[in-house]
Symmetry: C3
């Protein structure tokens, strides 16, 4: 994994300095860099386009911003860190007393060196973010010169989309937000993981098609949904990726449905990983799962995170920097998400062709490849479980859950049995009702 | 609440001395006093009327009763406390040795000053209840004169009924037993709470109609059910009120259905009250929920108590007196039951008119009235939950349960959203099936 | 129970010395002894008969086997203990160095005096089982003479079947494996318990018919299923009996359905026994429940054990001897299984003929036989529960579970009520849907 992790790390480091927002050249520049890795199509949606209850806003761009003392020294400098300017600040060039300026200054309480991340997308405003230490060096008796050299003009909202086609038109959607400036975990980590997943999935045949979205948070997802309603019925599974690079344990947040295949697959993989983790219920607050899981769509899309947004002190501050993201955490996020996708890819329904009594496994050589030890025992149990439950109603994930065995072991057993006369895959659409189907919670 | 509590206290104090039983003038006198507060209709059902498996019994009245020594001194005196006579004692006027008398004397073991409450409705008998101390003062060598000046004659069973009409013919039934003599918690507390609820509910418009029953235990409820079968289909919710004035925590006993709206609403209110409480399953023993929840009716009626009958030592003794009932407990019972009724009243189903993606709350001023702090956050979450789950299948209580937020907050959010174009109430009868409807336990 | 236990002990002791396998005269001899107790029919199925994926094997018989030193002394002697020969060993008469012999010698690690039990049914082989101590006395420099005087010839697979007819054609199947040689718990205990159950059930009228199978493990059950597919629809309940005589607590393994009546009845009986026990989920490994619960049949058959096969060190060794089986354990297994069968026999659905309000129990003398104390209270509760839940949808076991009372108490209440006008049994086929039927897990 070392190599891959390095790729994700390098991509994050390269994207880190760019000043992104929900629109503007920073987003375009980011998407162009991603195109060096995967063939993203870049979409440009004009300002003023109606998208459900929303309107695509004016495009924001910024060249420079500073607070100078009368001696002309930059005390707060956008060129040092783009977090210093409130995102979507209107242009301003003024001299002010500190007293007047204070309403436009934002700090992080309790962390004297940290600079907060602030936005004002839908209310015209301007402001500077700075550290408590910097603020302490300003003096009430002094005047300061300040400049925000930004523009808010009719333009476009930009986003990236990459459809990796599989055998089926049915899709898994993988979405990440790309609207944050120099914040590494939130969400360069998600972007890097999405790119790496796309590269990996492109290497082998796929049952599902995979659609990757690199969109500004909220307005980007809303825009994409508004312009792609016709294809939503194809989306069978999905993940929002956010904050996947910090040192915390993995958190999976269920879709609104609560028992979608992606919910069950992710919980299964985490359970059998042996690693500490948490699985939390859907709530209508968070990242773009809010839009995908709105009641008019109710898509089977969950959210993969490590530490949960808003619960760690570095969140939305300058401390969410390149050091906050760990190679081994990115690597683990990649491995776990690939394992989940593997479950989704191979979660088929089989039929035991010899359903009356056990078949003779020995004469078909099915005990062969079984080496000694606990593993041999588990592999034999996997064969027996697949035979016992493959009545045409239960998927491999159903079987893995009931057997309390890792999906991979169940899949290997199904593969071995399928190579004999004992098991065959059910055609989709001919599967029987799961006897527990009434049991499964639908919305929770 | 001070004022209200005082009213309940005063009513209890006024009713306390009256000698009630399942029939007789004590019941009539009680109902007349209640009529000073709410316009109860008094029903009189003749002795001998068949009510399902039962027959309205003869009417019992009593004027006086005593045990005197040979000196003519009243050693046990009905005029001091009406508990001294076994209810429904046949008339008797005799001289007896203590030995012969003993089978007709009842005391409370372990509490030398307490006098028990005993009845013999369906077996002709007579008896006296006295304290262990009183019993100890009688002598085996002595003869005693005893008198029970009672009558058992053809007459009537009396009960009170008050229908407070609402917008709908659908009803909530509130029932309490009125057959106990000088016992304060069991059930003057329930009577006083029912009267107070009726007064309060009469003050404002109501969606449901409320029917209040003041009935003798068992035979009264059976009589009412037998004579009102035609209207039972209107009863959508209900509560039996009993022992609601002692210092114990509130206990809610579920209806036989186990998941009726009243069961869910009461459990929800108790959970979010933060107060210690218990919710117990239905069992076919207790107060008149036994009749309302018999299998031929299976009405959605639960039982509200504080301490559970039979589990506290004062139960059915003279220690269940005016001091045993606490103002603050009555006040709390009132507040909690009003909150439950508020949930029932406002537990409607709404439809999100903008179900595709989140709407813009800001431009509709919905973030306005949100003040700072945890409350602001919860109110915003309530708005998001109502929008997310109002798909036409889920009631506000469903939403409050899933959001794990108090119903009041969810209702306030629904009200705020209904004042915009975003949410509208579903007409009853057009609601969609709840996706979890198969999940809900029907009988437990 | 002393007498009965002695019968089971005596039967086990008499069967212990016989050398059984999946075919052969040891099985026939065993069945003949069982015929002294119950009128078993002995079936003989010819070698080569196809039974689903399997073929009835050649018949194996053995007269003698030994390892002698050059002085002619028997160092390992089949006549001392039949476990000394690997079951189904092909005949051999050879002189060998210990080095060559070693691949055919089996011991129990860690228990120097124990001799293992080994088989080689479906792979032609031969071998000796001996203790570590015996093995230590052999010398690498020595040659040994060895003999297995066995035969593998076309013949028959023998099994026993006994149908004890009841009022109904519907059956309960009780199955035990009879293929193990001198192992007492596995499974002479199961055989003895099955015989005792048959004797006991024959003594009184039965609602169900009971079919007892005494079959070689796996191949015997498969053979019976293959030859009796037409009657499988009659099997409404069933138990596999295995290892029911050791000192461990009772373990019940659920059927594949997970909530069959037998599963619920067994769990109920164990719960109310107050004895430590465990109830485990079905898995497709174990004894003949593997065959009965294969997906093509999915019969409602669980497995009764005490200690679970493979989890106790004596399992499949000479330490599973007559001392390992305890009279009191056999007696307890008998009592518990009879109680479970009693639940199955009497688990009927009743209808309350007086479903509106409670009936008057007093006037029908139903409070009579109720003696004082907790028992009186429980018996009164049982009456009330039966009346309250007998709405034509709920069986006595449903009621016992919800009431959390022992089935026997619920049944006694139903009997007492049935003797009055208050309750009548529902005809089968006219029962209503259980309101919770959607709730019940079907496969787990």
């Amino acid at each position: 994994m070392g190599k891959l992790t390095t790729d994700m790390d390098a991509l994050i480091a390269r994207l880190y300095p760019i000043c992104r927002s929900i629109t503007g050249d920073g987003v375009r520049q980011t998407l162009q860099i991603l195109r060096e890795h995967i063939p993203i199509e870049v979409r440009e949606v004009p300002t003023g386009t109606r998208v459900f209850d929303w309107t695509v806003p004016r495009e924001w761009n910024i060249r420079d911003a500073w607070i100078k003392n009368r001696a002309g020294k930059r005390l707060v400098d956008f060129r040092e860190l783009n977090l210093h300017v409130v995102s979507y600040s209107v242009p301003i060039y003024r001299r002010m007393q500190l007293a007047e300026l204070r309403d436009h200054l934002f700090t992080v309480k309790g962390h004297p060196e940290w600079i907060p991340y602030r936005t004002s997308y839908y209310e015209e405003n301007w402001g500077f973010c700075l550290s408590e230490r910097q603020l302490g060096q300003l003096s009430d008796e002094q005047e300061y010169d300040l400049c925000i050299d930004s523009s808010l003009t009719n333009g476009h909202l930009s986003y990236g989309e990459y459809l990796l086609e599989g055998e089926k038109a049915d899709e898994m959607l993988i979405s990440c937000h790309i609207c944050h400036p120099s914040l590494a975990n939130d969400n360069l980590s998600g972007i890097a993981l999405a790119v790496e997943l796309a590269r990996r999935l492109a290497e082998s045949p796929r049952r599902y098609s995979y659609r990757f979205l690199f969109v500004p948070g909220s307005i980007g997802a809303i825009t994409w949904l508004a312009q792609n309603e016709a294809i939503l019925a194809r989306i069978r599974h999905g993940l929002v990726l956010t904050c996947v690079g910090d040192a915390g344990n993995i958190t999976y947040k269920r879709s609104r449905r609560g028992n979608a295949d992606i919910d069950r697959a992710f919980a299964h993989v985490l359970q059998h990983s042996g690693d500490p983790h948490q699985v939390i219920d859907f709530s209508p607050y968070g990242y773009d799962e809010r839009q995908y899981c709105s009641p008019g769509f109710n898509l089977p899309i969950g959210c993969m995170m490590r530490s949960v947004h808003g619960t760690f002190p570095e969140y939305h501050t300058s401390a969410d920097n390149l050091e906050f993201v760990r190679s081994e955490a990115l690597s683990d996020s990649l491995a776990k998400s690939l394992t989940v996708i593997d479950v989704i890819e191979h979660n088929r329904v089989y039929l035991n062709n010899n359903p009356k009594c056990e078949p003779q496994l020995g004469k078909r050589g099915l005990y062969k490849g079984l080496t000694a030890g606990a593993s041999k025992r588990e592999r034999e149990m996997a064969l027996l479980w697949v035979l016992n439950l493959s009545d045409g109603s239960q998927s491999l994930l159903d079987i893995a859950e009931r057997a309390n065995l890792p999906f991979g072991l169940i899949k290997a057993a199904a593969d071995a049995l399928s190579a004999t006369d004992l098991l065959c895959e059910m055609e989709e659409g001919r599967q029987r009702d799961h006897p527990n189907s009434n049991q499964l919670p639908v919305t929770r």
